[in-house]
Point group: C2
Chain length 238, copies 2
């Protein structure tokens, strides 16, 4: 299979690494489109959400299947430009210098026709066996859940690091705790894994933490909101 | 060394497992105090924060070192009851059925005197080499940072699961993403590991996520607050 990946970011470089062992892959500069072969079976546009339509408008419709990789951009964005189009959405966070087990990445597909979907499935199956269909709304839901579970969880861990640093302690002291927090989620649901003062409804501890956050009203508000959710979820008052 | 652990919860049972290979350990029922030996060197009170003072009041002062394990209870709570007292605070989350690498747990110590601290260090060094001193305020800071990095991160991952479940998708599809989110934090700071629409300042995606959360105002508020923090941290306007 001949595949062109248009993009220069983390998703593009990881898809390149994932597909290289199984296909003829060209990595194409998204600005100049230099290196875009004339005969390709699949073009993967792996650029920022806002740039997808513009990059698509520059790619000639050669009859190849053209897909984007975004959780939040509807499939219709590609409709004006190509006869065969679709979406290949990997539910994963990509960082340049971090290795990934590509065959474990869940990939969600949407395509302009049954025939197109079949080509797209073949493409995805070159690197993963976790393949499902998902329409544009479901993809948005997947992305939203990933924002909470990955982006926001990481941000709260960052707040934990900040609180330590402000008090002269290096954030890395949290690593064994993070490791355990993560390990638990490989064998239990987050609800079962939950611990802490909010779960126990320990108002004295909660208040003493809010006192420390007195001069950081946004952190105090986040503390209150998440503690409420933890407590109510346990007590089924939700 | 003769050690009595007073408690029946997760911390008590893990400390029992951690210390058993290196000391004579008795696990003591916190209600009846049945099984508390007369000759012990160290008594570890591992009960809920609110119960520490009451349990302490029931333990006779035999001259043994008596410590609690709480991040949020001041050392002074034990002062009325014992001549030698202290705190042994393990920065970790304890769940009954999950195994732990005890020698990786950072433990923070506080004691009523230099002599007491020396006994406490000996005790902690039976299972870990990550031993530091921390006064009651520093311990509270450590606990607060752990609430954000562990309890709250877990709760947000739970919200991610919930959003999927409400749409008929099992939360486990997030596991490869969680795995990667965690792996990154073993080699980089949370700030370097951060990704997502908030970091990119992608208002279109953020708005479409807030639209989905329209009927869950608390989740929308959490979304807004954390997105603001992520964006501002990157742009140094904090």
């Amino acid at each position: 299979m001949n595949i062109a990946i248009v993009g220069s970011g983390n998703v593009a470089s990881h898809l390149n690494r994932a597909l290289k062992p199984k296909a003829a892959v060209s990595l194409v500069n998204p600005h100049s489109l230099e290196g875009l072969p004339e005969n390709v079976d699949v073009v993967i546009i792996a650029v920022a959400d806002d740039a997808i339509a513009e990059v698509a408008s520059l790619i000639p419709d050669s009859g190849a299947l053209v897909v984007h990789t975004s959780g939040s951009v509807p499939i219709e964005t590609l409709a004006p430009f190509f006869s065969k189009y679709g979406v290949l959405y990997p539910l994963q966070t990509f960082s340049k210098d971090i290795r990934l087990q590509y065959d474990e990445i869940p990939v969600f597909l949407e395509a302009s026709s049954e025939e197109t979907l079949s080509i797209l499935k073949q493409t995805a199956s070159l690197f993963t066996s976790h393949i499902r269909n998902a329409d544009s709304y479901t993809r948005k839901i997947l992305h939203l859940s990933a924002v909470f579970a990955c982006n926001f969880a990481n941000a709260l861990i960052g707040i934990g690091y900040d609180i330590l640093k402000e008090n002269g302690i290096e954030g890395e002291v949290l690593q064994p705790l993070l490791s355990q927090t993560f390990m638990k989620l490989m064998t239990m649901q987050p609800e079962q894994a939950q611990t802490g003062p909010a779960l126990r409804g320990d108002r004295r501890v909660i208040q003493s933490h809010l006192d420390i956050l007195e001069n950081q009203p946004e952190l105090a508000e986040i503390y209150r909101l998440i503690s409420d959710i933890i407590y109510r979820k346990k007590h089924l008052l939700k």
